[in-house]
Symmetry: C2
Subunit: 274 residues, 2 copies
Amino acid sequence: MTAKSVSHADLVKASAADVRAAIRDGSYDGHTAGLAAGKLQCNLAILPERYALDFLRFCQRNPKPCPIVGISDSGNPALPTLGRDIDIRTDVSKYRVFVNGNLDKEVTDITDIWTDDLVTVALGCSFTFENALLRAGIPVRHSETGKNVPMYRSNIDLVPAGRFSGRMVVTMRPIPEAQVAEAREISSRFPQAHGAPIAAGDPAQIGIADLSQPDWGDAVDIRPGEVPVFWACGVTPQNVLLDAGLPICVTHSPGHMLIADVAEDAETTIMKPV
Amino acid sequence: MTAKSVSHADLVKASAADVRAAIRDGSYDGHTAGLAAGKLQCNLAILPERYALDFLRFCQRNPKPCPIVGISDSGNPALPTLGRDIDIRTDVSKYRVFVNGNLDKEVTDITDIWTDDLVTVALGCSFTFENALLRAGIPVRHSETGKNVPMYRSNIDLVPAGRFSGRMVVTMRPIPEAQVAEAREISSRFPQAHGAPIAAGDPAQIGIADLSQPDWGDAVDIRPGEVPVFWACGVTPQNVLLDAGLPICVTHSPGHMLIADVAEDAETTIMKPV
């Protein structure tokens, strides 16, 4: 943090470009939930070109956990269809760098490890449909209580591609029974952000033994009359990348997403270059 | 045609697998409009692996004309997420083979030219939203009159990727003014099939001089009170592939689509392999 430091509150009403600028110049390195309201936020996977075709196949075959919203040219840190001035080496507030499938470091800039063969794949994020649920008056418990969404390993096999395979990670949000159908309908309008739930009700049906013991994030209360509803989660591709043991790959740190200039409710995630 | 020949009418109520079987064994080589009702039909691009990453980038950046619904492994003629037994070398009723950007031949089987480095990319098709329009009582003029949909070169630049670039080809359907909003709403539910219209009204706004002179397909009447409505067209990627002058690529012949086992209104185009 520098003398220029800005707070999360300072950036809530900022434009996506201004948030990226604050991140880029080192003024902000926090999480991005609620920033640049209304703009698409993205999960990130950066990997060597020789694995990119199989990774794209993997994402296409598993569109609920891995909705592709942007693909860079090889070695090019720009993502012009997502934002006019994005430099993926500097515009995310925290990155995780993995070497041979192990976490090597968590950093705020990857300029020093950038190489000409890296490809960025941006994937949709649940913030998009959570905002839509909130606008419809459907509660999002972990946000209400200042927690991270609970995430669980499911027993749902993913469709493999090349060295990429595994099982789906899911998030859980308790939804009042009377609003489950509406929550399903609303989230189904955002196929670029995990779409409709993949299950609701008994967690055992998807291999989850105990909702009070999430594999990532925080447990949340399920109140009387509420149903646990499960959505595909963007942690899925991160896990799959790890298991693939690539010589190098980079992801965002949880909650530290890439913020695009594209509106989160746009028909497509593509902004036409000027 | 053999002694086993079947007619288009014989296949209207057939399953997708049965239609593919009839095509595969040489019993049927006609167009696929209206066959295996309710199933997803696909545009086809088959190209060498070394161009596949850029072509996928191109499709991702131009999702309206090029909605990706399936990607094969390299050299593998199966597409298990689209259908249980698809063999892309035999299961399309007519193919066009292009060598160095020129049409080399039109055939009903590509087994003899299949190689270990070919990748199949299946793209969504307008049949999907046309069926939804018809169900809602919105007329589809070219179908009513037994014509092919009129297609036009527009002045809309595509977002390039590698050697792939060009301008969008659009289809036009005259829609009664009072039903344009509904047609837009219905087609927007099918992002895997070109989605919402890209323009409506004056064709000059997208660079079309004369609706009576389509670049492909047949001109259709626009009646009093009707508005010409333009959608992105699956001929776009075919044109782009041609212009790219690949040493070899294969597409379906117009109207001779790949029929998948996936329902055309499914939330995703992915069928889980058994």
